[in-house]
Point group: C2
């Protein structure tokens, strides 16, 4: 295309979209604003920027170079925030390590990412000590004692705060190619080895800008804006804590980092620092609500974005009942992660409480620069009628370009030029996307799709049920049939009849297909979960799905 | 630098920051939202996107190709919005023509920008007819009859709506290099020929994203957000109407385009469509306030960003008195234009009314990705103490890379790698930038700088003064001395004593240097203004500044 290009002045500044530039103007605007870590520390943005220099300088002294992977194993802290910025800003790659993985998998991800320097909190010293022999690439470990009066392990080259104090506050950060990789981490698949995703500087800057818009863009019900106090409740190793630390820092907000998640500490920090915005998975929201019930803590006015798993209507209502304002968000490890956020346009919230909760628990509407489609197997577009289901595929500037070193999986992820979420969704005429199922969790029975998420929500409301999951099991006649796996409440004895009560009611209302009626269920003490707290359906299928019918509990 | 780069999947989508992508997700989110033009038309975003195809298709039929300049001469309309998108989206360059320039200068800008296709509203037919012979490059003119039952001029190839209706709604917009030029227009200098600036797709997308953040980022006092109704009151030929049409479209807001600015129409549209957000120069705000005084129109709840010239405290207070929420913004033709917006952080608006007005009339705090400095002649940084004055220099991703075809001016603009605004500013410890003067308007007297803007604000409050300007005139003893040029109120006879009354009061309070006391003034019927309504100080200096003292009116 014979496009027109400008002839820049010799000294015209070419502004690269590197993470360093998220700080532009921040010290001018918010130099004295505070960043806190528990009761341990509080410092200004002016000091924060100096500490970024110190961290880069101490890493350089430890041998860090541009292009090298520097891995962090820490709780949510001001140090982690420093690593979010300083490591990419020096041209190195930040690896956020999922500390909940089994140690052999942690070792696998560190080795696979070629991590050469580690920053490790003392709580993870035993893990690191165990896996270090399997990590020949690691040339330096910096220990984080986190204020404890403990000895430096013999394999550490120094302590974070000590090294920081001795380092230079004037590291010469430079501009470089915005397409350089800034971060990497590993998805917590339920099978095989974790898969590495990576994001470039450009991608994270665009993610930050796009996320800052809708966060504040709703006048009626803003999420995050100037004046807010931010505390993450999604681990910082988990998809950049959904990118919000970058947003909060760019906006110059007061930030509170809670360290290891302890309900009492979280409630106390929230009250003490008047935290107004957080984000977390449903399990953490449950935990916070429980802690407040026990301590009488006032949660009103606390706004949260809930993701990772579906936000149930019951949990949404429970949070709203104590004065919280919660709404769903949607994204994945592969998507940096923000893609959708619950709609907060005036009409969306103008209905009654049921309608509002229906909206707030949808996966949401696309953020700016996010194009979404629902497609069939041949990637043909399906109608946005709120009914037709298809795979959600997306394009935005912030999608992982590949799984590191896994060409086949990368090609599958990106087939046809769109990122395949493997989530089955509907889109309604107002643009609200609802995730109905995981592609691999879909139950196809007699040519009909059963919404496993909807079915398990129904089963969960049955008498005597604490938790429920539904998976497909092979069936010679129907192809697949649903199997409910339930955790009863103490003393309760669920039967197929009690489980089917809410299902039958939904069938009678036309809310779910009659093929959803259960013929089988299993009782377990607890549901298996992945390292990020999602129900591990793969394991359920392995345990119950493939077993011959005669070994399964048949009831009713 | 040996950075790390990813190995993208074969089909991984490389997302270019082109204007087309501002529409991603918009039809999904806001397909039925409306875009209006006066009482003439209203259509949905779904239809808008189809009309972009139709416009591109009709332009292609008229001979438009990528890289070609397509110029628009229209009032603020849905058609202009279509041109904002469709012309750059097809790879062509949109030239927004300042229709207030004298026809020879309009001809100069069209010829200089190599415009080959013109879209012209019937109100400008006489101008185009007069200058067409001087525009050998123009190969097609499309006439905009705007609903009038008028004949097509013989030099037009067709009429906008007729051609649009006949064109294809499926133009194959493609991805291309985000660094291609998207728009160009000419700065309205007060001397010599207008200078062309240009902006790339990447720059405008980043400007849009960054502007959308702070627009909505303040919970306490948001500017623009989902739920708002937007109506521009800055001409769309003027620096992309400050970029807000792009922001409003990306956010999927209801938009109202007012056509030619007529106070009664503006007030009626505002009331009828419940417009909540606009932006304009102080003169338009004055006009709206005046129209409302005459008609009794209710302006309460209307939020406005005021730029172009300083927002005076008196005007800010007058707007607030009728329930409007106004605040300053700062930018220039060279800056796309958004750089600063009045701070709306909680503490900024927590003081009394005087303090709030003081904040809202400051030029503002930097937007995200905006780095500002105040520097001395040697580009050394000056302290952010709210007192020390220096030239404001900036870096953001959306600054014109050059003045088209003017290498010398381009190099001056960008000397030292920072864009020189030629504005003298202070920055206070809270990051608020205040423009104190134009570099060329500064009055240096006896080694002291006098703030000409402050001095003319003082003189404007003197008895019997309707308007005032202050310029420097050469002085053998002091280097320069201030000269006040005033427009008296009807029947008033200002004297040096009456003019100096507010100046003396300010000197007594220590608010201004004693060197500001006037010894000379001039009376005029009206102040000369540039085509965008700014006081033309160059002309004042030429008329009064160079005259020998004995010819000047000496009073007192």
């Amino acid at each position: 295309m014979p496009l027109r290009f400008a002839e820049p002045a010799t000294d015209a500044y070419h502004f690269p979209l590197t993470i360093r530039h998220l700080l532009d103007g921040v010290v001018t605007r918010s130099g004295e604003q505070q960043i806190l870590y528990r009761d341990e520390s509080s410092y200004s943005y002016r000091a924060f920027v100096q500490r970024l220099s110190r961290l880069a300088d101490m890493l350089a002294s430890a041998g860090a170079t541009p292009g090298m992977t520097v891995a962090v194993m820490d709780w949510d802290s001001h140090r982690y925030l420093e690593a979010y910025f300083a490591i990419p800003m020096m041209g190195a790659v930040l690896q956020t390590v999922n500390v909940r993985l089994p140690p052999p998998q942690i070792a696998y991800t560190l080795q696979h990412a070629r991590a050469e320097i580690l920053l490790v909190h003392r709580d993870f010293f035993p893990i690191v000590e165990a896996i270090l022999p399997a990590l020949p690439d690691v040339k330096a470990v910096i220990a984080i004692l986190d204020g404890a009066d403990a000895d430096l392990p013999p394999w550490a080259i120094g302590e974070y705060e000590t090294l920081s104090a001795a380092a230079s506050p004037d590291y010469p950060f430079e501009d470089f190619d915005e397409n350089a990789v800034a971060t990497t981490f590993y998805t917590t698949g339920t099978t095989g080895n974790p898969k590495g995703v990576c994001f470039t500087h450009r991608q994270l800057v665009l993610h930050t800008l796009a996320a800052a818009g809708p966060f504040g863009a709703s006048r009626a019900a803003p999420c995050l804006g100037v004046g807010d106090v931010y505390m993450p409740l999604t681990p910082m190793f988990h998809v950049h804590a959904w990118g919000v630390p970058y947003v909060a820092t760019m906006l110059g907000l007061k930030q509170v980092y809670p360290g290891r998640y302890e309900p009492a500490m979280i409630c106390r920090l929230r009250a003490e620092h008047q935290v107004t915005y957080s984000h977390c998975v449903p399990t953490i929201l449950e935990m916070v609500l429980q802690a407040a019930r026990e301590t009488g803590a006032d949660l009103s006015g606390w706004r949260m974005t809930i993701g990772g798993s579906a936000l149930s209507k019951a949990l949404c209502a429970a949070a709203r009942n104590v004065g919280m304002d919660v709404g769903a968000g949607y994204g994945m490890s592969e998507t940096a992660p923000m893609v959708l956020m619950a709609a907060r346009r005036d009409p969306d919230l103008a209905g009654d409480e049921d309608a509002t909760i229906h909206t707030l628990t949808a996966s949401g509407v696309p953020l700016s620069l996010v194009e979404v489609r629902i497609v069939d197997d041949a990637m043909r577009d399906l109608p946005h009628d709120g009914e037709t289901r298809g795979e959600l595929v997306i394009r935005t500037p912030w999608l992982t370009p590949c799984y590191t070193g896994d060409r086949a999986a990368s090609e599958t992820l990106w087939r046809g030029g769109w990122l395949h979420t493997q989530d089955i969704a509907t889109i309604d005429p107002q643009g609200q996307v609802r995730i109905r199922d995981r592609l691999k969790d879909v139950i196809k029975t007699g040519g009909e799709w059963i919404d496993s998420i909807q079915l398990e929500e129904l089963v969960a409301t049955a008498d005597g049920i604490a938790e429920a999951s539904v998976v497909a099991v092979p069936d010679t006649k129907w192809g697949e049939r649903p199997l409910a796996v339930v955790v009863p409440k103490p003393g309760a004895v669920p039967t197929l009849a009690t489980l089917n009560q809410p299902v039958d009611a939904a069938i009678a209302e036309g809310a779910i297909t009659r093929y959803a009626r259960l013929e089988r269920f299993e009782i377990v003490d607890q549901l298996p979960r992945t390292s990020v707290g999602k129900i591990d359906k793969k394991q359920l299928r392995a345990r119950f799905g493939e077993a011959p019918p005669e070994l399964c509990r048949q009831a009713g």
